[in-house]
């Protein structure tokens, strides 16, 4: 039907106006946008990292390592509980996937299984029902096996990822001013995007340090013992061998006196002798432990271990009771600041490593945008001219008007949805310019055909629009299916392409079928042509 009710005309005009209003901020510069009245939208299209420059990293979280630690904890828990009940165990071990062990006396097996069963608690605290943490099985007469349940593993992964994200955020953006994206990706990865990042190496360094700090008492070993430890890897029980930054070996008590978890805060400072240090304050628990250790061991050395490296081992001169202290090492002012930042952010629960990195320089990004704009302008001009040539000034104008609105609506859609325009996205828009006129071509060809078949103008236009609907819808829905598949399977920039393509398809159907028809109808009402200028 070529007839449009007044209501419909108002609705269509409104839709187009809204489109223009939402697309408009993209044409203004930043200053002009800020001076817009509050009720006007001022969002512009987000540029992807490939266009505005910045760093994109996909980080793999070493979940296996976390699992091992969790199982070690569970294992010592089991050991302690069994020992409490005077049940002797042998060959207790874990391999990262399960804990296995044997009970010494077969008659104690029943009691042991009871104790082990009690170790399996609900995954989510404060819930009675729901999934438990461990699957407890008896193996043979005296053996047992504890396997973490799927839910437990899932929960550990989630917690690890969440904690890592929190720590990363405060490490990379301590002031909270950078516009960065940091989100879980899959079940063991983190996506990190920092637009306009300048110092990518710095970011990488902050990601890769786990910042596990602990304080251990140093065992004053003689040269012979140190030599044996280094060369043969032999240390006395409950002790560990660690090296300083300069390669000096230390034998430390395995159990830390205090750990980084008990730090309240830290900041870079300067020693009274002028060199950089890192000041720290413990929380209450840490302060008590630190005070007790330093008062009992005055005169011994106390090693500060950061990520497996002894960064200093000062002698304890007096008991430190206030929970305050400082670390000295071979710091520069910068490295002291870095360390205090890391300590404040806390330790990462797991090691992170970069499995994919895309850093784009701002200049290359700008160039892509410029090239894209030129290509879009020339493409648009070419298609527009061609439509005028093929369908005359009148119908060519309708098609080109529809095309113009199509572009405006794509810009509006991208701004409104907060979608990201990527380099392939630009390709999507330019491609849409070429493909969007298809609906109008279909309609115009049909109108021509119907007019040639002897229909009067109004009838030909009407029939042309009506009979073209089915093929237009079929053709566009199938393209939409391809684009949607791309969106769901693709990632990053390719998603950007899929989004622009999908918005382009929907908008092109709207502009070609409804907007162009409205203009055709308005024109026909006034001109009442005897023949069609098509």
């Amino acid at each position: 039907m070529l007839y449009f009710s007044r209501f419909k005309i108002i609705m269509i005009t409104m839709a187009l106006l809204i489109g223009i209003i939402f697309a408009a901020p993209n044409l203004l510069n930043e200053k002009a946008r800020e001076s817009l009245p509050g009720f006007m939208p001022s969002e512009t299209i987000n540029l992807g990292l490939d266009l505005q420059g910045g760093a994109h990293m996909l980080l793999q979280v070493d979940v296996d390592d976390v699992m091992k630690r969790v199982l070690t904890n569970e294992m010592s828990g089991a050991k302690a509980k069994l020992r409490e009940a005077k049940i002797l165990t042998s060959s207790l071990a874990q391999d990262g996937t399960a804990i296995t062990g044997r009970v010494a006396k077969a008659e104690q097996m029943g009691k042991a299984m009871e104790i082990l069963d009690a170790l399996s608690v609900p995954v989510k605290e404060n819930t009675l029902g729901g999934a438990k943490t461990l699957k407890v099985e008896q193996v043979g007469e005296r053996g047992f096996k504890l396997t973490p349940t799927e839910d437990y593993i899932e929960n550990i992964k989630e917690t690890t990822i969440d904690q890592s994200i929190d720590v990363l955020r405060s490490r990379i953006d301590p002031t909270g001013t950078t516009e960065m994206t940091i989100a879980p990706e899959g079940d063991d990865r983190i996506l990190l995007q920092v637009p306009g990042a300048k110092n990518v190496d710095e970011i990488k360094r902050r990601i890769q340090e786990t910042a596990n700090m602990s304080f251990h008492l140093v065992r004053e070993a003689d040269q012979g013992e140190l030599k044996r430890a280094v060369e043969e890897g032999r240390v006395r029980p409950l002790h560990i061998l660690k090296f300083g930054e300069d390669g000096i070996p230390y034998i430390l008590q395995e159990r830390p006196e205090v750990t980084g978890e008990d730090l309240k805060n830290s900041q870079a400072g300067t020693h009274q002798d002028g060199y950089p240090i890192v000041n720290f304050t413990f929380n209450t628990k840490g302060a008590i432990a630190f005070g007790r250790t330093t008062s009992k061991n005055t005169g011994s050395r106390f090693a500060v271990v950061l990520d497996d490296v002894v960064i200093s081992a000062p002698r304890i001169n007096t008991a430190i009771l206030g929970g305050r202290g400082y670390i000295e090492g071979n710091f520069t002012a910068q490295s002291a600041r870095d360390l205090s930042l890391l300590l404040n952010a806390g330790a990462l629960p797991a090691k992170l490593f970069v499995v994919e990195e895309q850093t784009v320089g701002a200049e290359l990004g700008e160039d892509s945008i410029r090239a894209g704009k030129i290509a879009a302008a020339i493409g648009l001009a070419g298609v527009g001219l061609f439509m005028f040539l093929m369908y005359g000034l009148r119908f060519g104008f309708f098609a080109n008007l529809a095309l113009t609105f199509n572009i405006i609506l794509i810009a509006a859609g991208l701004s409104l949805l907060g979608a990201t325009l990527t380099l392939p996205g630009i390709a999507g828009i330019i491609l849409t310019i070429g493909m969007a006129v298809d609906a109008n071509v279909l309609i115009f060809e049909r109108i021509r055909e119907e007019a040639a078949n002897g229909r009067p103008p109004l009838n030909a236009i009407d029939t042309g629009y009506r009979l073209s609907m089915a093929p237009i819808l079929d053709a566009n829905i199938t393209t939409l299916i391809a684009a949607a598949t791309l969106y769901f399977v693709g990632s990053g920039p390719i998603r950007g392409f899929a989004v622009t393509l999908m918005i382009g398809i929907v908008m092109s159907v709207f502009t070609a079928v409804i907007v162009a028809r409205l203009f055709t109808s308005l024109w026909h009402k006034r001109a009442r042509p005897k023949t069609l200028p098509i």
Partner: protein
């Protein structure tokens, strides 16, 4: 009013005997698909770093450095075959350079658990990137960070590093994307048309995908994620064409109950021919503009699309429609629809 419409350029009622050419077209298509398959197993695709892992470092310079020297210095790092190319920028005063090298394998295989190996592997790739960037910085004076016109520090050395695990996943995902979209399309056309149409359309699409891959195998053009996007868009475009023709076939089957099937097919292709040509031309206009002016990053994509427009147009006329003859279409019974009552 002044009319510049070129309606006379395209004949109003073309009657090209497309269906008669189906045997020769079929032979051409079969040979082309077989050749593409053959090339796939002999030459293979020239995968980009998205799909095989590896690294690319890109930067802009005001004055072109000695590329041969960079290549030599790169090879001296012992990081596999190094490629150094210029990239054209739309800003004529500047030039860009692209330095790429393959995924690094450890000298001796890593030991340890799966995650330990992955960790060491990632560290190796990162360490190599640092070596390359340091080499470019110290030996050729290419800054890693530049101060832009507004006085803001900006990254100058772009880098992409993709590890083996991620590239493997991307490859699988790309394959799933193509297969899944073909399956979805099959389903949609099956619902909207008859099964013969669905099968015909999907076979034509598979033909398009095969030929697009074939060109990439033949010329060894880099095959990356953007090309997979292009292939899916070609699928969409070609399908667009096919559906338009099919729609007309369905309409004409109802109209002309007595006409022989080959004639109905031929008539329908001819009916929609001017539209097919028009849309191909406008799409090609946009794509050519993109290919020539759109910058280095989109050249592969636009090349694939341009080729795809030709293949897609060809396949809707010469593959999708003749396949209906082969598959057999059920003719609707009853009286012809009255829509045709008006004749010129």
């Amino acid at each position: 009013m002044f009319d510049i419409s070129m309606v006379k350029v395209l004949p109003m009622k073309p009657r090209v005997p497309f269906i008669k050419m189906r045997i020769i077209a079929g032979i051409i298509s079969i040979i082309a698909v077989l050749a593409s398959l053959f090339l796939f197993f002999t030459e293979g695709l020239n995968y980009g770093i998205d799909f095989k892992g590896g690294s690319v470092v890109q930067f802009t310079v005001d004055e072109m450095p000695d590329l041969e020297a960079i290549r030599k210095a790169g090879n001296a790092l012992d990081i596999g075959s190094v490629q150094v190319q210029t990239i054209s920028l739309s800003d004529g005063d500047k030039s860009g350079v692209r330095f790429s090298y393959p995924l690094q394998d450890p000298k001796e295989p890593f030991e340890g658990s799966e995650s330990e190996i992955a960790l060491k592997d990632a560290a190796l790739q990162q360490e190599t990137l640092t070596r390359v960037q340091t080499m470019l910085e110290t030996e050729f004076g290419i800054p890693r960070v530049k101060i832009d016109d507004e006085g803001v520090e900006q990254v100058n050395m772009s880098a992409s590093v993709i590890g083996s695990k991620v590239s493997g996943e991307l490859r699988t995902k790309g394959m799933i994307a193509v297969v899944a979209s073909l399956a979805m399309v099959l389903l949609y056309i099956w619902i909207r048309f008859e099964w013969q149409f669905a099968l015909g359309a999907v076979m034509a699409l598979a033909h398009d995908v095969a030929l697009t891959l074939g060109v990439f195998e033949l010329f060894q053009i880099e095959f990356n994620l953007a090309i997979v996007a292009a292939i899916l868009t070609i699928v969409g475009y070609s399908l667009n064409d096919t559906v338009i023709v099919y729609d007309r076939i369905r309409e004409n089957l109802r109209k002309y109950k007595k006409m022989l099937l080959p004639d109905v097919l031929n008539l329908s292709i001819n009916d929609t021919l001017s539209r097919t040509i028009m849309t191909s031309v406008t799409t090609l206009l946009a794509l050519l503009s993109l290919y020539i002016l759109g910058g280095e990053g989109l050249r592969g994509f636009s090349f694939a699309m341009i080729w795809g427009v030709f293949v897609g147009t060809y396949s809707s006329i010469f593959v999708a429609s003749p396949l209906l003859l082969l598959l057999g279409v059920k003719r609707p019974s009853g009286e012809p629809t009255i829509e045709t009552a008006v004749t010129a």
